[in-house]
């Protein structure tokens, strides 16, 4: 685990989200969000529907750009560059280079249906990173083995179960060798049995030292795997800290209410 330090000895987090504001149409979705994710840690983002979790995640890999505030990855501003006291939006081309270093896994998988599993995985490493086919294919097979789907390289996404599709989606993101992985409710579209197979892959990833920001409703997973838990409501982070503390002894009444509700749902 490499830790970046400033000359003064301060640890620089891999991701620093500072005072991010975002409007969508008339309503303000993010209202000054601050959050950091350190190298090699898992940050779990929980909160009620409509809190702005997806929006925050989409800002981190610049699929959307915040209206105010900054997001830094490894000390580099995402989606814009500073000129004097002005922040100027980067072109899509420049942003795409930044996105290549950030893996993203979506709630509904978003595999490319017209490509086989192998093509899904090797396309971006070849096209974006300029890797050779042989090297990319080799790593794709390694990754498929890692997510337990070594025999599915030739299959098409439609012929796979949801859990299998999501594991392929994780392999596809990992093939770019990202510095950071973002997960947006990766198991919400899956039934409990399939949920576990995806969560197991994610646990393995966390164990291997990948930095991850995970939006999830799986409180048990967050407690077990998360280093940090952040609770979001109404566009702000109302509580953040070590996952075990936040999820077992929440301070904010809204967190308590949210956790009680999710526990109730899980028992049903």
């Amino acid at each position: 685990m490499t830790v970046h330090e400033t000359p003064s000895g301060e640890i620089v987090p891999l991701v620093r989200i500072s005072n991010v504001w975002k409007k969508r149409g008339a309503n303000v979705v993010l209202k000054g969000v601050n959050l950091v994710a350190h190298q090699g840690t898992v940050v779990c983002l929980l909160g009620p529907s409509g809190a702005g979790k997806s929006t925050l995640l989409r800002c981190i890999n610049a699929i959307e750009l915040p209206d105010r505030g900054m997001i830094h990855l490894d000390g580099v501003a995402i989606g814009c560059r500073q000129e004097g006291d002005k922040f100027i939006r980067l072109s899509e081309r420049e942003v795409s280079r930044q996105r290549a270093d950030i893996g993203m896994v979506f709630q509904n998988f978003n595999l490319f249906p017209h490509m086989s599993v192998l093509e899904n995985i090797i396309d971006a490493p070849m096209r974006v990173r300029g890797e050779g086919r042989a090297a990319a294919t080799q790593r794709a097979h390694d990754l498929l083995g890692r997510v337990g789907l070594a025999d599915k390289a030739k299959a098409y996404p439609r012929h796979l179960s949801g859990g299998q599709q999501q594991r392929i989606a994780i392999a596809r993101a990992l093939a770019m060798q990202p510095k950071l992985m973002l997960f947006d409710e990766p198991t919400s579209a899956l039934d409990p049995h399939l949920t576990d197979e995806v969560l197991d892959v994610m646990k393995g990833l966390a164990g291997a030292g990948m930095t991850m920001i995970v939006v999830t409703h799986e409180v048990a997973f967050a407690r077990q795997v998360g280093d940090v838990a952040a609770i979001m409501a109404d566009g702000v982070i109302i509580e953040a800290g070590p996952a075990r503390d936040v999820l077992t002894r929440p301070q904010d009444p809204r967190t308590r209410k949210f956790l009680a509700k999710s526990l109730q749902k899980q028992q049903e």
Binding site: R58, I63, A100, I102, N108, N110, F112, P113, A124, A169
Partner: protein, 300 residues
């Protein structure tokens, strides 16, 4: 797990092994319909052979007549070029219409509005008679600025160019809508996933969005292509000798109208058949990974 404790998966049973094999019910209705269709076809064939009005000997004489063949070649050439212009213009205008840039959007809207809204006949005649409006065509600074390049319009706009411009721009407006509809059919999640992998905008379009949109674009484009093949006959108004105009020139001289129209029909039918086969293979290519999963009545 408890009832079947075999260590290996069981083999697929042989054809007679299992009494519970599921088979389709007999399709009696299909046999009745087949008989009706056969009778109908036989009657048509009988008429075609015995009715002297068709004058098959004359059809045979003109089927490979040089004038007719030249007409066929012109029709093919015009259709292919018009569709090429239509697709290129259609992609550009379709993309412009989906752009977030208000100016591009406005221009594309205006283009589609104008070329879909005016009759092709008028557009053809307009291009053909451009010389009357602008005797000199020039390339340079507008509003009487310096000119870099100048030709006389009568020389530049032949009947072939007029047909190309008239039909091509009109087709571009229709293709723009077909392409836009195809692009709109793709889930936004696909674009997001592609962006998240670091694809540049053009890569996202070419690698992820377009190949999927093609599934929705190819069938109506095939339709346009086939329609255009026959629609090129409208170019006879600007004195272009495509297939229809060629047979017209012959039968206006010999009065063998019916057989010559059959000659034209046979050629169109032949060209359309070739196109349909091509379309089938293109569609199959873009259905990779999809397989027909839409169920409609009349399928069982």
């Amino acid at each position: 797990m408890t009832t079947n404790a075999a260590t290996e998966a069981p083999d697929w049973p042989g054809p007679h092994a299992s009494p519970e094999r599921i088979v389709d019910p007999p399709h009696w209705g299909r046999w009745v319909a087949l008989a009706a269709v056969v009778v109908g076809l036989a009657w048509i064939a009988y008429q075609l052979i015995t009715n002297p009005g068709f004058q098959w000997d004359i059809v045979g004489r003109y089927l490979f007549d040089p004038i007719v063949l030249r007409g066929v070649a012109m029709t093919i050439q015009l259709t292919v070029l018009v569709m090429a212009i239509g697709v290129v213009v259609g992609v550009l205008v379709g993309l412009m219409r989906m752009s977030r840039d208000p100016l591009l959007n406005f221009c594309a809207h205006g283009f589609v509005w104008f070329f879909r809204g005016t009759p092709v006949l008028v557009q053809l005649v307009f291009w053909y008679n451009l010389a009357a409006l602008f005797p000199q065509l020039s390339f340079g600074i507008p509003f009487d600025g310096p000119k870099f390049f100048e030709v006389s319009a009568t020389a530049a706009i032949s009947s072939f160019t007029a047909a190309l411009l008239g039909l091509g721009l009109n087709e571009g407006a229709y293709m723009a809508e077909i392409i836009r509809a195809g692009l709109l059919s793709i889930d936004a999640g696909q674009t997001e996933a592609s962006k998240a992998l670091g694809h540049r905008p053009w890569q996202t379009f070419r690698v992820v969005v377009l190949p999927q949109a093609m599934k929705a674009i190819v069938p109506p484009t095939g339709n346009q292509f086939i329609g255009m093949l026959k629609y090129t006959s409208i170019a006879s108004v600007v004195a272009l000798h495509e297939l229809m105009h060629s047979v017209e020139t012959i039968y206006s001289r010999t009065y063998e109208t019916m057989p010559l129209l059959i000659v034209a029909a046979l050629w169109y039918l032949f060209m359309v058949s070739v196109l349909s086969v091509v379309q089938h293979f293109i569609e199959r290519h873009y259905l990779k990974g999809w397989q027909a999963e839409v169920h409609t009545p009349l399928q069982s």
